[in-house]
């Protein structure tokens, strides 16, 4: 194809030379690759998962209370339960810490202090999770054992606490952003009516920023459920259907790691089982993320 319109600059701008079109095509192809990644994830998980589910019925998978691959028992409830228990412990730790920090940084801290504290908190979010796992095993569990005698080396509590630490900055950072987006006029109006700073924080700023705060907590939960190394090291590798945080339990992610370490041969039922539980994990985290986006979209108030 000949370049449209020859050397005239104005016409060239509309179509561009062949070289430029090829360049654009390459750029567009790069953008499409990101969709291929998603397609790849879905195809791989569904494809390998489907093979798994031809051998293990869906009903057994979702209602079975025992996960014992060696004996062919594939009831996912213990794994799912462990992931949820640890995510909930993490939330119990992270919500007060994260919201407290967010309120302090947004409403109380002087600007100079805020500029130092915020990046320091974000160091926690960038901490490799293997480091948090080491910290749980090496420091948190021994400290807990001093308080709770008889606590085993592997327990959900220590895992939940370190995962909580990991997601605290996520909550504090996103919540603080939405609190700071609340216009000052609203604060000043409340101050003008005689409200104290505590009342302004809790009754004006937090409600006004609620969509962002809730979304940050939901996103943090999704991160907690997908967390791997800290829970593998701290909560152990024994599937255990229990709500007792003092016991060890194996999460979905920890199971995937355990099988991957053991070199399950390709094509075996165990190999396929990690894709099946991976699919479950993917669906759960995706659902949580979609909920978070919905919350923001539905309840967000835009202030001028």
């Amino acid at each position: 194809m000949t370049p449209v319109g020859g050397p005239s600059g104005r016409r060239k701008r509309l179509g561009g030379s062949v070289g430029e079109r090829a360049m654009l095509l390459a750029l567009a192809a790069a953008a499409i690759i990101s969709i291929l990644v998603t397609v790849g994830i879905v195809v791989v998980l569904v494809g390998e998962g489907a093979t798994f589910f031809t051998e293990v019925p869906l009903k057994e998978f979702f209602t079975g209370t025992e996960w014992f691959p060696v004996e062919g028992k594939y009831g996912v409830l213990p794994l799912l339960n462990a992931s949820i228990v640890i995510a909930l412990i993490a939330a119990v730790v992270a919500v007060p810490l994260g919201l407290g920090s967010a309120i302090y940084l947004s409403e109380y801290a002087p600007e100079r202090l805020r500029r130092v504290v915020k990046p320091v908190l974000e160091v926690l979010a960038g901490m490799p999770t293997i480091v948090l796992g080491f910290f749980a095993l090496d420091a948190v569990t021994p400290a807990l054992q001093n308080i709770i005698p008889g606590l085993g080396l592997y327990n959900a509590l220590a895992a939940g606490i370190v995962v909580g630490l990991l997601i605290t900055p996520l909550i504090s950072s996103l919540s603080e952003d939405s609190m700071r987006a609340v216009p000052n006029a609203m604060r000043e109006g409340a101050f003008g009516l005689g409200a104290t700073r505590r009342v302004v924080s809790l009754k004006v700023v937090v409600p006004a920023a609620l969509s962002g705060i809730v979304a940050s907590i939901v996103l943090a939960l999704s991160r907690a459920i997908g967390e791997t190394m800290a829970v593998t090291l701290a909560a152990g590798t024994v599937p255990n259907l229990s709500w007792n945080p003092l016991e060890g339990m194996q999460t979905i992610t920890a199971y995937i790691v355990q099988v991957s370490k053991g070199e399950a041969s390709r094509g075996s039922l165990q190999y396929e089982s990690i894709f099946a539980v991976g699919l479950l994990l993917f669906v759960v985290t995706l659902a949580i993320n979609i909920i978070a986006v919905r919350i923001v979209r539905k309840y967000r108030t835009v202030y001028q």
Binding site: G16, A30, G126, R197, G226, L233
Partner: protein, 342 residues
């Protein structure tokens, strides 16, 4: 915020005139609440300090040049971090080689070309279709017309997709790498397979960061170039892209610092290596080298029951954290030094 500093923050010196209006002392509940939120912030920071100090105390004794230079060993006193360090270097080279060009190209397209109005081009293509072209040429023009029409929807899909990808748990990328790179492409469980997996993992992060950097360059730069006769591509290539480069590099380094600490996807792709090999630093050999990496080695040591392995695991963590610190410092310097205020 400036108008707000008065009520509450560090007790303002009571000016005589306002005194009757202002409460001289806060109520106890006010103070209590302030201490509560301050305390919660302090606890978070204290936990971070506890984490770092416990690792440093445990690992500092094992840290030495020999530790950095020695190969792995089943004897904790002789075991070194060299293979892990080399593995991580090669992994990062492979990751950047694949993720950077694709990520930046995608960002350029999404930010600078995909959102351009299609009206003018569409009109033009229609005109030429009407002017009696035939055969392959007409087919090609129809494809272009179709693309111009679906483009906004595709771009929206890519947008949503990228933000969702950034939230997918990293272990899922491991499963993807295991099935595609190891399973279908038949790459052995090697540094190459690991590097490719990490490249896919950080691709959305690089795209997001590069888009932000491109967005920060004012539109007037591009318009100025185009007013002088440059095509959009020329304007973007020679003006916008160089201006955004420091921001893109900063984002890239931060994405790399995410990749270098990832453990789970590497375990899924490559398993845990017990060997004592020392991988070559040449990325072209990566397809044959066993998967070594700093976080993998740390995990392997942490998982051992003997206490002496815990100490070298802590030493390994110190090295990993120091690497992260350096990467982040470089990113900050790059941002402060080259970022322009427009």
């Amino acid at each position: 915020m400036t108008t707000l500093e008065a009520p509450g923050t560090p007790p303002p010196p009571p000016a005589a005139a306002t005194r009757p209006l202002a409460r001289k002392r806060s109520r106890p509940s006010e103070q209590l609440f302030k201490w509560l939120v301050m305390g919660l912030t302090a606890i978070t920071i204290a936990m971070l300090i506890w984490l770092i100090s416990s690792v440093v105390i445990k690992g500092a004794g094992s840290l030495s040049w020999a530790f950095l230079a020695d190969r792995p060993s089943s004897n904790p006193d002789k075991a070194g971090f060299n293979s892990a360090l080399r593995g991580s270097v090669v992994l990062m080279l492979i990751t950047i080689f694949f993720a950077w060009p694709i990520g930046v190209a995608a960002a350029l397209y999404l930010e600078k070309f995909a959102t351009q109005s299609a009206e003018a081009s569409e009109r033009k293509v229609r005109e030429r279709l009407g002017s009696g072209v035939s055969g392959v040429h007409a087919g090609w023009l129809r494809v272009r017309l179709w693309w111009l029409r679906v483009r906004p929807r595709v771009v929206h899909l890519v947008d949503v997709n990228i933000s969702n990808l950034a939230a997918v748990p990293s272990i899922i990328y491991g499963l993807l790498g295991l099935a595609i790179f190891v399973g279908i492409l038949g790459i052995s469980k090697s540094l190459l397979a690991g590097g490719l997996t990490l490249a896919v993992l950080i691709l959305p992060i690089i795209i997001i960061a590069a888009r932000e950097a491109l967005r920060a360059v004012p539109i007037s730069i591009e318009q100025g170039a185009m007013a002088l006769g440059a095509t959009r591509w020329q304007a973007v290539r020679s003006q916008v892209f160089p201006a955004a480069l420091p921001g893109i590099l900063t984002g890239t380094i931060l994405a790399m610092s995410r990749a270098i600490g990832e453990t789970a996807p590497l375990i899924v792709v490559g398993g845990i290596v017990f060997g004592t090999a020392v991988p070559s630093l040449n990325p072209l050999d990566a397809g044959n080298e066993a998967l070594f990496a700093m976080p993998l080695q740390i995990y392997f040591w942490t998982d051992q029951p003997q206490a002496s392995f815990q100490a070298i695991a802590a030493a390994g963590i110190i090295v990993l954290l120091a690497t992260l610190l350096v990467m982040n410092l470089v990113a900050i310097i790059l941002r402060n030094r080259y970022s322009k205020r427009w």
